[in-house]
Amino acid sequence: SQTIHQWPATLVQPVGSPLSLECTVEGTSNPNLYWYRQAAGRGLQLLFYSVGIGQISSEVPQNLSASRPQDRQFILSSKKLLLSDSGFYLCAWIEKTGAGELFFGEGSRLTVL
């Protein structure tokens, strides 16, 4: 069966520090991968998606970047965190056709102080 893992689950970082959130998927090949941010009052905002290794599409301009170094690995990064980067980050995957259900990870809560 397919599973998706995210880590760390919680993170408290000072302003200006770097960030790396990691997501891996097991039990499937060549999935489409996504990073969403869940913020109060703003719902779920799509940040990045990837349809293959090294292929990243950004949905909103921001202080963050994403990378997909391996087929089932998706990383969310920042060189210098801002206060506004605080939030709950969700990784998700879907089968290659893009149809069907989107499966979410458990999320990573980032607090920038």
């Binding site: 489409n32 719902g43 799509l46 989107l102 990870g105």
Partner: protein, 111 residues
Amino acid sequence: AQRVTQPEKLLSVFKGAPVELKCNYSYSGSPELFWYVQYSRQRLQLLLRHISRESIKGFTADLNKGETSFHLKKPFAQEEDSAMYYCALRQGSSNTGKLIFGQGTTLQVKP
């Protein structure tokens, strides 16, 4: 531009009362519509999709293209229905699979 609007941040009802969570969308093509739910301390998960036309946990949702709506309904709310509900849209022709979500509505079912 694609947009999903859920006008209510919080909907509070008593157990046994009917529930309607509103969702309106903006999209010029043929969309696929979904409802996702997040129960306390659980992952966000699919509740239902319009193409399935099925009832899940007593919930139904009908796509109304004329009103561009996809409201989620249940005739008799249960306490275990308390959760955050998100309406989502996918371009019908898209193979990227990406979903555009609304702001979410917290459903609170009181005993």
